[in-house]
């Protein structure tokens, strides 16, 4: 065997080893991410007693239908539980309002900042930008005070409005608008399109993929809100699923109905997963492609 063959053999072995390592790392990753979800899924198919004993079953049981029916219709536990159906609807309304509101407001403010010259333009932009450093949690007490004074407690307006005001989306749209060549604006000017016409006919169609990508991110952001809905909603009929789910877990005085909780958790996970799966093509397009 000559030196060349030895070298080639060595390289091949190294490659095989590297492939194994890559697969092992991936498998470990899948396990870390998927196992909790699997346990939740499995847990939602057993009766309360099985989980109550302290076992963690890894194979599905036979009580799926009744668990999901309980979760959907009554929420199980008499005092704490809420029917998941209503809570899902509340969450959906909240997430859609937040995503839609944020996109609408940030499209318009980014449009103003990028395409118009007016006094204090950059000051306005930086003021918006600074709110990035103040997440909801930091300003939660003054915000709460404002909402209560405005009599928006226990309303969807009160629930969504403070979450809509944020700079992330404005910043993203601003960056995108800056990449749009001036010639489009000028061509539209010569074609006779006014500012709103340009916005509707040229800018919006060009932003569609960005809007879709941002919509997905913001929907999930809204869906996962916990602290603010917990504070501003105490009417049970307006409870969101994430808050409702947490409330189903008691303080230890009584037995938790883990089977119903798991079923509710699965139900809570489903809409964001659906949104991501259905919007995936647009989502990736929006993050990677530019149609110019």
């Amino acid at each position: 065997m000559d030196a060349g063959q030895t070298l080639a053999r060595g390289a091949e072995a190294r490659q095989r080893w590297a492939r194994w390592l890559a697969h092992a790392a991936l498998a470990l990753g899948v396990l870390v991410f998927a196992l909790p979800i699997w346990i939740t899924l499995v847990g939602s198919t057993h009766d309360a007693a099985t989980i109550g004993r302290g076992d963690v079953p890894l194979l599905p049981g036979g009580h799926a239908l009744e668990n999901y029916a309980t979760a959907w219709n009554s929420g199980g536990g008499t005092l704490r539980g809420n029917p998941a159906g209503g809570m899902l609807l509340n969450s959906a309304i909240m997430a859609l309002l937040i995503a839609g509101g944020k996109i609408a407001i940030s499209l318009l403010s980014a449009y103003a900042v990028v395409f118009f010259r007016f006094p204090l333009r950059m000051a306005a932009f930086w003021t918006i930008f600074i709110t990035l450093m103040l997440p909801v949690e930091v300003r939660i007490i003054p915000t709460y005070q404002v909402i209560v004074n405005l009599d928006l407690f226990n309303s969807f307006t009160g629930l969504t409005l403070p979450l809509i005001a944020s700079a992330t989306a404005t910043l993203l749209f601003r960056q995108f608008f800056l990449t749009i060549p001036d010639e489009y604006v000028e061509a539209a000017q010569i074609d006779g399109a006014g500012p709103m016409r340009f916005f509707r006919d040229i800018l919006l169609p060009l932003s569609v993929t960005n809007i879709a990508a941002l919509g997905v991110i913001l929907f999930i952001y809204g869906w996962n809100q916990y602290l603010w809905p917990l504070l501003v909603i105490n009417d049970r009929s307006m409870q969101t699923i994430v808050v409702g789910l947490a409330k189903m877990i008691g303080n230890g005085d009584s037995q938790n109905e883990w089977n119903t909780i798991m079923a509710t958790a699965v139900l809570a996970m489903t809409p964001p997963v659906l949104v991501v799966v259905l919007m995936q093509r647009w989502f990736i397009k929006g993050l990677t492609e530019t149609e110019k």
């Binding site: 000017q189 010569i190 074609d191 016409r197 040229i202």
Partner: protein, 356 residues
């Protein structure tokens, strides 16, 4: 169809003045090419005519109507951009129709005009495509179509051919000229390419540092450049500019490089010793004649039917000559003759042309 009148247009951006008073009268149906090196203000001038920039002072009138303060849309103009600026999400037909649609033109009228314009430009089969599915030349045609379809009073072209490859550029140049003559629309065309300028324009405006150095027909600009800048800018290779002084009572020039040349068209004003710049086009240089200079060649470019020689004179000045046929190799010193009848005489200080 309309005239265009610019009077005393100036433009400053902060402390920088980019246009120093441009006056221009464009006749109905005329094609004016504004040519100059980058940064000379030619694009700014075009944008002022379009209404995309406001002049600092001065007036723009299209068809006798004062438009200085009007929006671009109200000026009845169309513009072809360097990168075409076709709306990427609209089809070719939608791109062409957009201006008409905004003006509220009836649908059937739009459809008729789109079909007509597409036929004129040979882009009929492309109407349903998006701009990204088109080649550079096709995009160029669509951009033209978008301008033509509105039947404007004035066409503005902002270096429309500079994104095309050389072959296509020559072809589109011809098409633009034919189309403009056929439609008879007054046009303003900005370019940095002197060949485009010479071939397209009825008249040229040669811009230099925010001023119109010369406004004249292409042949006039070539044969009687108004100053040394125009002389050096128009023509390829560039005109040779040699130092000299007035001699023999104004009837001749004593070149720094040696020979004395007698003016064939009459004496120039000024006393003997007045510093001059003498221009000679490389293609006018001869292999032999009366006024001989010796050129130390440092580069020979054979082009087949002719040869371009680059070299240095004894005075340290560079000289370029374009001679027919084959010519000796690099390194050799070569005698060349300057023909007295092909001289351009400029004042050395101001650079202005001095006529007899």
């Amino acid at each position: 169809m309309a005239t265009l009148n610019l009077s005393a247009i100036t433009k400053s951006f902060g402390a920088t003045t980019v246009l120093h008073g441009i006056d221009l009268a464009v006749a109905d149906g005329e094609m004016i090419v504004i040519v100059g090196a980058s940064g000379c203000g030619k694009s700014t001038l075009l944008r002022i005519v379009a209404g995309l920039e406001a002049p600092t002072t001065g007036h723009v009138a299209i068809g006798g109507r004062e438009v200085t303060r009007l929006e671009p849309a109200d000026r009845d103009i169309a513009m072809v951009f360097q990168n075409y600026a076709l709306y990427p999400h609209m089809t070719v037909a939608q791109n062409m129709a957009y201006g008409l649609k905004i003006r509220g033109t009836p649908k059937d009228e739009i459809a008729r005009r789109v079909a007509e314009t597409a036929g004129l430009l040979g882009i009929g089969p492309l109407l349903a495509r998006k701009p990204r599915e088109l080649s550079g030349g096709q995009r160029q045609r669509v951009a033209m179509g978008r301008a033509i379809i509105r039947e404007p009073k004035l066409f503005l072209f902002d270096e429309p051919l500079s994104n095309l490859d050389a072959k296509l550029r020559v072809q589109m140049r011809g098409e633009i000229r034919r189309l403009q003559q056929r439609l008879g629309v007054t046009s303003l065309y900005v370019t940095h390419d002197q060949v485009e300028a010479m071939t397209l324009g009825d008249r040229l405006v040669v811009m230099h540092q925010g001023r119109a150095a010369q406004v004249a027909s292409p042949m006039e600009v070539w044969s009687r450049p108004a100053d040394t800048y125009v002389a050096g800018f128009i023509g390829s290779p560039a005109m040779n500019l040699l130092a000299g002084t007035l001699a023999e009572g104004g009837t001749a020039v004593q070149l720094k490089a040696g020979p004395l040349l007698r003016f064939t068209d009459g004496p120039r004003a000024g006393g003997d010793g007045r510093p001059l710049t003498i221009g000679v086009r490389p293609e006018h240089m001869l292999r032999d004649g009366e006024a001989i200079v010796t050129v130390a060649l440092d580069l020979v470019e054979p082009l087949g039917s002719e040869t371009v020689l680059h070299g240095m004179l004894s005075s340290g000045e560079v000289l370029t000559a374009r001679l027919p046929g084959m010519v000796p190799a690099v390194g050799s010193a070569m005698p060349l003759a300057i023909p007295a009848e092909a001289l351009h005489v400029f004042d050395a200080e101001s650079g202005r042309r001095l006529d007899a």
